[in-house]
């Protein structure tokens, strides 16, 4: 174990903002993309249901 405690882990030797910023942004983008695609799929199906019911 190379980290003394959790705060040392988040501090990242003073580079916390850069390191966690990089990983955090990547995570946000990925989660957002999956959520957006699920919505797009639901939207497409909703439209198709309207079209077929007519």
């Amino acid at each position: 174990m190379q980290w003394q405690n959790w705060s040392a882990f988040f501090y990242m030797g003073g580079y916390g903002l850069y390191v966690w910023g990089s990983f955090g942004l990547t995570a946000i983008c990925m989660v957002w993309e999956v959520v957006a695609l699920r919505n797009r799929n639901q939207q497409a199906l909703r439209l198709l249901r309207l079209l077929t019911q007519k």
Binding site: F9, G13, Y15, Y18, V19, S22, C29, V34, L37, T52
Partner: protein, 258 residues
């Protein structure tokens, strides 16, 4: 056993297949990410001599940059196949890959910027590696915008394919930029045929993260391909039957919501 691959070149047969494949790739991506993050933060060496802990950005920056180039090549290949064989599913695959490729390019640029500030002292320099990667982002955005601007989807496919194929010349330029020009960006960390210039745990972390990004990209591209198929084939009989069956019967059997 002989598999008829051409069967899956029709959107009708590909749609349910893609739906079954998405969860597998999604789970693989999740597991590899957990393993990759564990290696990156707990097994990889404590701090780089010069860069201190900021070096850990490598575990997200390099895989993202790799994916930005790999996805472009795959996208251009699909677009080329679509153009040559007049196959609409290939064109749809190219279309499905573009936004994910653009996202990884943006992430490579932003994480690179976040790495550059503490180590180089600047967010951005107009050096060959950074500039050619920025051009890659513009190529992705240009491809997406061009397709969106043309109403007839088949014409949009052809125009997009030409742009994607011509733009592919940029990928080797990005890759070799650190060799061809004197750049501030460091040379490649891994090269074919030479022993890697880094600790094994560091290399493992990077490769695990890269594999995770691969699996993620495949899962997301398949999800988007399914959306595109539904949107573009909405007037076809099979889509109407698919949705009709879902309205009449149970939703789970048809797998429409999967």
């Amino acid at each position: 056993m002989k598999i008829n691959w051409f069967k899956y070149s029709s959107p009708q047969n590909f749609y349910p297949l893609a739906g079954r494949m998405v969860p597998w790739f999604a789970w693989l991506a999740a597991l590899l990410t957990i393993a990759g993050l564990y290696v990156s933060f707990f097994l990889a060496p404590p701090a780089d001599f010069q860069q201190k802990e900021a070096y850990r950005i490598i575990f997200v920056h390099v895989p993202a940059a790799w994916m930005s180039m790999v996805i472009y090549i795959v996208m251009a290949a699909w677009a080329g196949i679509g153009l040559a064989l007049n196959a609409r599913l290939s064109a749809m695959m190219a279309q499905a890959l573009a936004p994910t490729g653009a996202m990884f390019t943006l992430l490579a640029l932003v994480t690179g910027s976040l790495w550059g500030k503490p180590t180089w002292g600047t967010w951005w320099v107009w050096d060959a590696r950074l500039t050619s990667e920025l051009i890659l982002l513009f190529l992705y955005l240009g491809f997406i915008a061009l397709q969106a601007a043309i109403d007839d989807p088949r014409r949009a496919d052809r125009a997009g394919a030409l742009l994607a194929l011509v733009g592919a010349v940029n990928v080797p330029i990005i890759y070799f930029s650190v060799k061809w020009w004197n750049t501030l960006h460091q040379g490649s960390s891994i090269s074919m045929g030479a022993a890697p210039k880094m600790v094994v745990t560091m290399l493992t972390g990077m490769l695990l993260m890269a594999l995770a990004f691969w699996m993620y990209a495949i899962a997301v591209a398949l999800m988007r391909a399914r959306c595109i198929i539904l949107e573009r084939e909405r007037n076809s009989e099979w889509v109407k039957e698919l949705v009709g069956a879902e309205i009449c019967g149970s939703q789970t059997k048809t797998g429409v919501n999967a």
